[in-house]
Symmetry: C2
Subunit: 402 residues, 2 copies
């Protein structure tokens, strides 16, 4: 490597260095070193290798006994508490109802909570007409680019499935809808400027202060969850958390941290996120290797502890539905966790229709390095254009488990 | 805010939402809330407020007694060790010399160190001819977009000042030149593709694992520093660390963590980085507020402990030269630290020529919010086009302090 140093013109706007037409990204999909000692000169090579060799401390082991499983689950919880850095909620004013409206078949309430100094967060409560006593409740967490008002139907959605909370209240359960941090009314100037939400700059500030987007947004959700438990209209032993896409991340955090949640709707594909970062190494034509996602997903030390399948496995035996599949390899880990914990029927798994037939699914032990984003999604049975909230599966499942 | 929700079309490619021509960024330079309780609805508002209210635990206090100063300095050191997360160096092969070349007036050696499993890092050693016994040595750390070969003159530089190590060896001291992580031969495919170095993707991987670009690169530098201390040709009580631009960051880390370093060349402006992030809030025409820099500069919890002036203040009483000024407010803190520690002449400060006359310098107690990048640099006396390694100041200063 040392011998092929190319004359660089200095200084510092590094994007303006000369271009060279002979670079072929196809030849560099996999990260290698040509040194006989196997060491990497490139920092990317070193840290990619470091990531590959990181074994999460709290990985689920399919050979756990029931007792080992239970004690492992506590270790997952402790680790999650450690990296989420939730502050102690103290001296917060109680949430307030700021408006109420009667709609066709349900009551729509707008509430405010005050989870942190200098912070207010809105949430919506939808209560079906004609129900007596406490009833089950679903906390609805939206996906990227969405607001809670998409979930309630107050903002029109192209695909009516997306109105998660509206569909749930019409089905007869209370629905509570929250925003993700940085989106909907929690966005900054984006709605005025007519552009998409910027999750990354607030995430960056949080990270500088030792927090994270996910730690922050799950903390806000947690305060809403605590409020839900105190409502006479809500059966506190039948609280379900439902996450769509990005919303599955706070779902996992809440699920691990709060044992009182009854069940979960996981509306996204499930994957080994560490493996995803390890195998997505195919450079673009400028020689840049990708990273799977932006820094709103960055939680320092996450992979030192676990991957997504470990986390959802730790939710057993509480009922969970997966609506958009993934690799059987990963989903089988979750199935195994539910078996060990004595509730093998507690997990229900659906694949994208395209991959419903097992013969159409890729089933691999480990993915090869050198993939780009599209190839990765393809390799883990994701049918992107059909990524939406699958209420056609969720509503009947809710009836069953409740 | 709730009342002005604008109908969004869903889904999820948030950049494709409708555009609106009436947005005027000038009206939103400062982050405000119109709520009577002063709380922020926007996540940006909340976290900006959080950042503003963060008081670094290890802030320098100009009223310190000499004893208080000394014990505070130890707290800075402990905090730096905590957030830099250097692993214990163990079972590493000794650095090896891989080539040696006689040049006009000096010997140029290329060395390799093996600071981590799977990792090799190269460094250059330049030894002036005709010196007897151990002599002083300067560890040279480059700026962004530069390689160690720019410092040694092996790669031509437009501005001959930039060849820091070459200028130092010609002046009669040993110069050791390192790469920053992700640059020079430690880059990935950038030199093949003819594009600028990508510091951010490796930084992202490091952050996921609980480390950081600065933690990593300073750890590599530290191994070279340890090697330097063992060389018979080097006076271990006269080791200087010199950082240009980005290189001032590892300089600060090394300086705090290693008490044996004799002196420092800080070749960049000095600023309160936390304040910089707080005041740079002017949105662009798309409503995006800036962040001062990319994630290679992200060290979780940094501002919970200190700002740059606190760190360099803690280097007192060891000699330091600043070559590119900053705000007098911040530089005076450093002067005060050197007074308290009993070496008021230990700090030498130069401004950019444009700001050499105090009458030309802005001198403020605190900067106003609502600045953009250009306004910020202007406000802190930075003359960007004249940012280069000021060997015309450094070499004579080195002679004096050595």
């Amino acid at each position: 490597m040392k011998q092929i140093l190319i004359a660089f013109t200095i200084l510092v706007n590094a994007n303006l260095v000369f271009s060279q037409t002979t670079f072929d990204p196809q030849q560099h999909r996999v990260v290698t070193t040509d040194r006989p000692d196997g060491r990497f000169v490139s920092t990317y090579g070193v840290v990619h290798n470091m990531l590959k060799n990181t074994t999460p401390e709290c990985a689920f082991n399919p050979d756990f006994s029931r007792e080992q499983f239970a004690s492992w689950r506590e270790r997952v919880r402790t680790a999650m508490e450690t990296i989420m850095c939730h502050p102690k909620a103290q001296n917060m004013p109680k949430p307030k109802r700021v408006s109420v409206e009667q709609k066709d078949g349900y009551r729509l309430e707008t509430w405010e909570a005050y989870p942190l100094e200098g912070c207010v967060t809105g949430f919506k409560v939808m209560v079906p007409d004609g129900k007596k006593g406490a009833i089950p409740d679903v906390l609805c967490i939206p996906g990227s680019g969405m607001a809670k008002e998409h979930l309630t139907g107050e903002i029109e959605v192209k695909n009516p499935h997306a109105a998660m909370a509206l569909n749930i209240v019409r089905h007869g359960y209370i629905a509570v809808a929250v925003d993700n941090a940085c989106s909907g009314e929690a966005s900054d100037l984006e709605r005025l400027a007519g552009v998409g939400y910027d999750y990354d700059i607030p995430s960056r500030i949080l990270l500088e202060l030792g927090w994270s987007w996910l730690g922050y947004t799950s903390y806000l959700n947690k305060q809403v969850l605590e409020w839900m438990k105190e409502q006479p209209s809500i059966r506190r032993d039948r609280i379900v958390v439902s996450g769509f896409s990005l919303g599955t991340e706070p779902l996992m955090v809440l699920g691990v941290m709060d044992k009182s949640i009854y069940a979960f709707v996981y509306n996204d594909f499930l994957c080994q996120t560490q493996e995803r970062a390890v195998v997505m190494t195919a450079p673009d034509k400028r020689g840049r290797r990708p990273f799977p996602n932006s820094i709103r997903h960055l939680i320092p030390r996450f992979w030192n502890y676990f991957n997504f399948p470990d986390i959802v496995a730790s939710l057993a035996p509480r009922p969970i539905i997966f609506t958009e599949g993934g690799l059987d390899r990963d989903l089988n880990l979750v199935r195994r966790a539910y078996e060990i914990s004595g509730n093998p029927d507690g997990v229900e798994i659906h694949h994208y229709p395209k991959y419903a037939n097992p013969e159409n699914r890729k089933d691999v032990k480990s993915l090869p390095e050198g993939l780009d984003r599209t190839e990765y999604f393809d390799a883990v049975n994701v049918d992107g254009p059909n990524h939406y909230f699958k209420d056609e599966l969720v509503l009947s499942w809710l009836d069953e488990i409740i």
